[in-house]
Amino acid sequence: MSAPKAAPSPSGKPDAGSTPLLTVSGVNKAFGGLQALSDISLQVHTGEIFGLIGPNGAGKTTLFNALTGLYSIDRGEIRLNGQRIEGRKPHQVLCAGLARTFQNIRLFAEMTALENVLVGRHARTSSGVVGAVLRLPGTRREEADSRERAHALLKRVGIAQHAHHLAKNLPYGDQRRLEIARALATEPRLLALDEPAAGMNPAERAALRELLLQLQSDGLTLLLIEHDVKLVMGLCTRLAVLDYGVKIAEGTPDVVSRDPKVIAAYLGDETL
């Protein structure tokens, strides 16, 4: 990808030549009698920012957990870059190239910001016990490289000054940024962000928006759950709307925001 795409393409169709990076087809997930996801299908294309919205309890986070291997799904298929990833363990999904952040920030609280990002390098490095104990040349090289990348990522998300502070002592907005840096350290193809702007003030939101656009321009594909409608409408190429575990709409922000089903889901349906 070359230039950042601030506005969605008017056609609503992904750019010509772009391929589906993530394909979700017919995914079902029930918790006891509650159908949390019913027949969800969607495609996320390389290079886009895909938004996932819906009222509270619509199943957005459940879908995220299903995608990233935290939940097993009852039926359906999930492909990342053509590879099937449903039924795999979280670390395997990550290795396939899908990283995520959490709605309720899940950092390693007692580790420094730098160490948090270094943990993100785990999947892309391979030193074992012997290498660590003897500090073999390969391990040293790997460790130096990891540290360099981790520092660069902290700088990139704008919290380089916190490198040696404990994660839990960081301001809220910076914790969100740190989670993104940790996810980026795993070199994902698709980054799934669960409400990254939650609890941020307007200045932090603006900075986050810039960061996400930058990531997109660097070729990363983003999948975004977000409640801030302004942020979503301005940022996303396409959107899918979930309500009670069903996908009720999909398309460009313009189209979706005029959809009567979406309006009903958010404001209540008068016919009921």
Partner: protein
Amino acid sequence: MSSALSLNKTRSRWLTFGLLALGLALLPFLVDAGLGRSWVRLLDLALLYVMLALGLNIVVGYAGLLDLGYVAFYALGAYVYAWLSSPHFGLHLPFWAVLPLGAALAALFGVLLGAPTLRLRGDYLAIVTLGFGEIIRIFLNNLNAPVNITNGPQGINLIDPVRLGSFDLSQSHALFGYTFTGIHLTYYLFLLFTLMVIFISMRLEDSRIGRAWVAIREDEIAAAATGINTRNLKLLAFAMGATFGGLAGGLFASFQGFISPESFNLMESIMILCMIVLGGMGHIPGVIFGAVVLTLLPEALRYTGDWQRNLFGRIYIDPADLRMLLFGVALVAVMLYRPAGLLPSTRRRREFADAQG
């Protein structure tokens, strides 16, 4: 300017290092002269417990897996040594072959016992590991019939001491004009292994593996979602901890010359856990300090009988009872006034300061 400063720093570091090495080398002689021979023996035991505590620290302190059956690996290491180096089976293999075997078998059992507990956390994990520890002990207690493997509750006797060629470590030797007794020589042997265990712990802590363990302790789900194979790394923690336990077990068997299931009961596991918690979980100097204090303190409290006689002319409370009472009081006091341990890592200290402030 800065190079002169760093030169100074390296010099002072080497000086500290030299003084520490000299102190550790002279320690058994100072203790022998000042407190008596039985305290040198305690010093040997303290080193064994340092190894054990550092092993359990990997499982509990780093990976955050509460293991109450750790003593099982200590027992396995000791029995492997006894089987392969005593008249029990008529085998007398050299210690350098037996110790690694014991450590390896303990590691294998670490994985075998760890595997079924992978989904458990906290209290549940503690209960299951406690059960495993007891199972191993009861097996050792009962495997004397129909085939006599462990010699049951009588234990195994006449275990070979550590020998290098014709040099028997349990005998007194005259070296460089000084007489070294068995327990003095054992001290140096144990010190060597302890330093090795400390070195391995330090290197692991500051590595990809150590960070992954801490990440699992902090948030297992986030760790998995960040690409850590939590199953393999937990098993690795169990195996590493068990390796140290097995090594200490082998050294214990050679040192005592006699082992029985009695030595490996639940109280031992709890004692080792206390050493970690009191010293400072996940912090190597703290764990070492905790192990030394908790080995020596109960022995020091034996003197309460003498104090009573000196003070009151007679003994009011049996020192054996008073000892446990004071020991309990000391534990409660530490938990009240230093909840993060006697020597907590700067990290934990900050955490507790945050919680209170």
